[in-house]
Symmetry: C3
Subunit: 185 residues, 3 copies
């Protein structure tokens, strides 16, 4: 167990060049990983409990958010993820806030792909099955990201995007773009 | 546990506008989710036992079906899925019979994306790794769906489809289309 | 348990036409599957322990390899996989060394898609999230395979590939192609 904990530590410190952390941070991180594991393994705890567990890991999550099974919210820096009200993550969605090339590639490429950037998903956005969202992306209000897409750039509000990399497929008809959308609570 | 059960109930009733269910239905549904979890988490129970567990959840599964690890057969309405004899689901395959936009999107789009429709996979079809099959799709006899495809429309018999959305790549050579195919049992 | 073991046996023997195996082979295989399950289910054991577990299953893994969560290294013939030093498998990566059509398709297609072939990932290659690598593929030194790609053909050294099927997107700039790359250890 101590051995496993030490490996966790090495992985944590090594894989994203994070700031140094004390034993407390490590423990917190180890607990965070266990929490992530329960939240994501399709274990039937329900969407609300998944939100609760992800909040404990540091993900900022609004109200009435649906988080399905199998979702991976970055395991290194979950605190860089913001999910607003009424967002739905269908299932198998993976949101990354870090990117970490191999050692040889870092020597060749410099810091080009070695990033750490926040992800922001705005109100009412619907992220379909198996979508991957890369670091630095903002997804606009009430937009839809189609199944199996990889989102590499910002997505405007009221649009449907899809593909790898995700491109605009069409605007959502009758978008109340100027007034925003009112939800009966 | 009671709390978790209530959340299950809310999720179940809320996420697909299902008909009202009694305590029995909830228990059945909770058990169904546990069964799904065991069937799908790559836990090494073998393809035959995965078929047995999925049948308990209500999925209609024929003979000699292979279900690999990590397959998600709709968690809300598994009873709308029919899988005929000799079908193979490689691994990481996800079959959906429901589609449920976020609350704001439902107000904007009406019921356009809020669907509930059966999925039918015919004899001998081979569904490769990580394929997603969306509600309402029928996959024809002895067809092949290539790795990582998203199937949005019906697939004819004896064809190879692939991509997102899945398109016909080619017909299967020497297809005995008129006589069907005889298998030595 | 005996029943489950027998099913394992049938699946093992049936699904890849492997050479006959004794009780020892079955036990070894069953243990191998449990090891795979622990290694791959995103359970937070750390990248180093994942490497250790995969080595026990027969995967050839070099030094300083990073194996993230959710990776599936072929469950039938892991011994056909070679991963060299400094390789990184981000997460959700699936490497196949076998391909096994349904019984009817095997009768129609003969042995066309019924393959068993090694996969070789060379030094410093970076395999991003959710990539699938099909049997027979070699991935060159310090190459990058983009998120969500399906790799069906060999990937040259110092190139970025992506898509389904994966195609060359661009060469890696300033590739020290002639001299190889030196890593400070």
């Amino acid at each position: 167990m101590g051995n496993i904990l030490m490996n966790m530590a090495q992985e944590q410190l090594g894989s994203a060049n994070l700031e140094a952390k004390g034993v407390r941070g490590l423990l917190k991180s180890f607990l965070g990983k266990i929490i992530q594991w329960i939240a994501m393994t399709y274990f039937p705890i329900g969407a609300k409990n998944r939100c609760r567990l992800e909040r404990l890991r540091g993900v900022k999550i609004g109200k009435h958010v649906f988080i399905g099974g199998g979702n991976v919210l970055d395991r290194v820096r979950p605190d860089l993820i913001t999910i607003e009200d009424y967002v739905s993550l269908a299932g198998g969605v993976k949101i990354l806030t870090h990117s970490n090339p191999t050692t040889p590639l870092r020597e060749i490429l410099g810091e080009e792909y070695h990033t750490l950037a926040p992800v922001h998903i705005k109100k009412g956005a619907w992220i379909a099955l198996n979508v991957v969202i890369l670091p630095g992306v903002t997804i606009g209000e009430n937009s839809i990201v189609a199944t199996n897409s990889v989102v590499m750039k910002d997505v405007p509000s009221f649009t449907i995007v899809g593909g790898t990399p995700a491109k605009v497929l069409r605007e959502i008809p009758n978008s109340p773009k100027k007034d925003g959308i009112k939800i009966k609570e």
